[in-house]
Symmetry: D2
């Protein structure tokens, strides 16, 4: 294994995902200058051996690679396009790696605007959640040019385990969207299976064990069937975040001009979960929506009484 | 390991599933008397070392255990309740094991009527398909009394690998229904993922590889993603059979008085596949429905032209 | 207007629909012999000037036309095919008019079996509910031969206002199914409109008034928008009955080999209403399901509290 | 009837809707200065007795009321917020009436920004289409302050027949969204009814006549059932426009935090219609999607052949 070059990295967004990621880059020997709206987050990076910047511009100024890890499309647009933002501050030749989960069209807009300034851009959303970020075990789905991917690869290797270049600009976001569609849908299906089993007087645990041994097997069943049957919904990955992601799924489908009826319905289920007040529970709490909709809500005493 | 007792088994229904199952029982040393409407099927059993009966009554007459493996509810009702059928012919104390996939209420009706004649009954539908039957690797989901399950267990051990007693009469059918709901739904979700990826200009194979490495992982992705992307739909398990099974899912939900919106929609997708003429393709051909509905049908030239 | 011939009519099923219908036929001068399981119902017919029979056979024996008005498929099968039933008792040349709402295939089975005995059969389900039956203002959708329709027409004219021969045997049931599909779907759509308006802080009454004046106009809006906004759900037509009818819609679609995704989902909504305990409310109570699913349930205090 | 005051009106957007609307205002005696990107459209207004402006700023400069009638959200944002746009040019006290169909949050953003400049704003989307615009028979749904509504009322009276103030800023858009949800859904339901009738061998025309006489009655049935059964889909209101509107429905639901499963599915059906290449057909062409999905496509010979 050859020694990796030390890179100067500007890192914008030091939240629950960004903070451990920036920390891993520091630990790997890279020169990381980070910025976050919260001073506390900036201080933690400094304590970890990075450098705290007082503005996006300062974080970006001398960087070879700028990584952004932000909550949603408006934040990315503000940080990239805003006054004093990345494109105002980055010198030509900088590589901008947006690891936020946003709409494919936002990634494409960023890439196009960046190119006009001589800046290269990749979209590189991740899956694996907070645990994946802390353990440097993220899956990273990358859209953009092959050469830019190669340039960012040493950094990705520090942050994740599954790292795939899936296509041109925006492609990373599309794969992430497909992932969230399938994950959300499987939660809904497993929820309907649980509701059907329980309503039929069948032991759900025993029934799901059989499912997990055949063609219905899936990772959600492996990891979550016990907690779902027990109605334990501590996150994990919150409904609110999956709600945001389903918005991206629908936007991606609209942009690609395809109808996704299952996706459309899963988006409504996740919206329902949020509307019912379950936004801060784990996304496995889709079971609560399916249960309420199915007319069964045995674990919610107040509602059960209201049926009487 | 103690020697298993030799049982006299009446086996009704020697089709693509029943034939290899009866063969395994013969090979394991049991005395199997089989009946099927087709003489050819009866002859094959005789060649394999079993005994061919000329009627259901003859197959059932001296049996300790009667196994039925039939296409659908009407066949089970005919064979069990019809003149000269199982209940007309079985002596008290016989154990009737229906391994067909039917509605839970059919299984319960069989069990109730059997009890009135002093016959015990189990519902024991299987998953794993023809390959599972040939390789004696079926999953067997059993509903009925514990003692009856214990009595049939030596036979199940010959036929399958995952053998679970999941609850009272009908429970086996409910678990099978839950399984088919989840399997059908995952096919639809993976199909929508493929359509979204391809319509967005992303390499579907690379994208699905990422999905298969994270929380979206499932056995359908493992086994079928390559053939689906290549549009190869040789069965496997035919759409027509999955259509029958989705009818059972909806009937089970109706009996249990629960709403299953995902299940309801998956049933329509499978119906659509059948209506479009794909009934004899593998159930992964749900992709063709999703593709046609999404407005993309790149592999069906005639339709593509009709858009022009 | 020429004098109508007096017909001898056997009438089986004197419930909330059948009783007033039989009464109208008596009042129009026909000789009506009625049977119902409940003695009280039979007595009421006698008081109204009809004749009470002690069995189906007695009601059918001398009749030129037999009308059946029964709750569901199993009752029709029992009354028509059962021992001492219509086909056992009717003399050749009798016209059997089944005005029950059942599956098209049940109507076709009745017609086929009747023909084997020299009995002609029509399926003639109605819409308009109890009010329509009492006011002799039913819509009657008739399947069967043109000549048989002509023969029954004088009786239909006594019972209804819109009387249409829509096709061969079973066609009446298909049209009734299509009607219930559209009615159920419109209730769901209007419910979603109400939920969207209210959740957005818009006066639902004013908003629906606009809808009722344009292309969205429909009879449900005309008749029910005020009671729905006020959450008044006295029947009218009960959810339990619409649930039965949606089962017929799905069975009709399955028989015709067509996928009906909207119909499939409406069936789940109606099932949900029933599962939630709203079975005896008016079908406009679909609003309660949509509201609960949408995460808004302002009129159900206990549930509202459970969100807190 | 008292004489209405003559108002000076700036009118931006003189397309198929705006042109006849501006013409009606001119004919009613108002002083209309209009702007459109296309010179031809400006010239037609001048020929009709209005005044053609060379820019938004010029149209807005001296106006008491500014009306905008634009295709979609980005156009409204550009015309209102852009350099030289309405808010740059309007003097305090101007009333801005946006009659475009856009997201409720866009209307609210416009109203908020306008208020900061001392400009009042109403959202006043319409239904009734080109025919309604030409015949001055639009339905106008108005959101905003009561006093501002009163001020604009004389202009609305010139343009429409049903004019309702439905609530605060954005409320007009929400009612328009609810309208399009119900209209789209009814088209889908009527389509499924047609498909079920035809697939069952029932004369669709006769069947729909019955539906149109009962609780299923609706204006779509009244106006479109003959053309739908005949597969005539000349617009009318184009699928592409309904697709845009379903996007607004979903955005409005998301903003209001409600789940709308029927709405979500109708949006996918409309997307499918567009993806299949039917974007420029009338929205009654949803029937083509339902037909294709149902597996029946008798009027599309090429697809029919491809099933063979």
């Amino acid at each position: 294994m050859t020694a990796q070059p030390v890179l100067s990295v500007g890192f914008v967004g030091l939240g629950v995902m960004g903070a451990p990621m920036a920390g891993h880059l520091v630990a790997a020997g890279h020169q990381v200058t980070g910025y976050d709206l919260h001073a506390e987050a900036r201080n933690r990076l400094a304590e970890a051996g990075g450098r705290a910047a007082e503005s996006v511009a300062e974080a970006v100024a001398g960087a070879q690679v700028v990584i952004t890890m932000l909550p949603a499309d408006p934040h990315v647009e503000q940080v990239v396009f805003g006054e004093g933002g990345v494109l105002d501050s980055a010198k030509p030749g900088t590589l901008l790696v947006d690891m936020s989960t946003v709409r494919p069209e936002t990634s494409q807009k960023v890439a196009t605007a960046a190119a006009e300034r001589g800046v290269q851009a990749l979209d590189a959303p991740v899956s694996g959640g907070e645990a994946g970020a802390r353990q440097a075990a993220l899956s990273i789905m990358v859209g953009g040019d092959e050469a830019d991917f190669a340039r960012a690869k040493p950094l990705f290797d520090v942050l994740g385990k599954t790292i795939v270049h899936v296509g041109p600009s925006g492609a990373g976001q599309v794969v992430k969207a497909a992932n969230q569609l399938v994950v959300g849908g499987i939660y809904a299906l497993v929820s309907e299976a649980i509701v059907l089993l329980e309503a039929s007087g069948v032991d759900a645990k025993a029934g799901l064990d059989v499912l997990a041994g055949g063609l219905a097997a899936n990772r959600v069943l492996d990891l979550k069937r016990e907690s779902m049957v027990a109605r334990q919904f501590q996150p994990g990955f919150r409904i609110d975040l999956h709600h945001k992601d389903m918005g991206i799924v629908l936007a991606a489908a609209r942009q690609a001009e395809v109808a996704l009826p299952m996706g459309g319905f899963v988006a409504q289920l996740v919206q329902a979960a949020r509307s019912m007040g379950f936004g801060s529970l784990d996304h496995s709490a889709l079971l609560k929506v399916v249960e309420r909709f199915s007319g069964r809500d045995p674990h919610d005493e107040q509602t059960a009484n209201s049926h009487a």
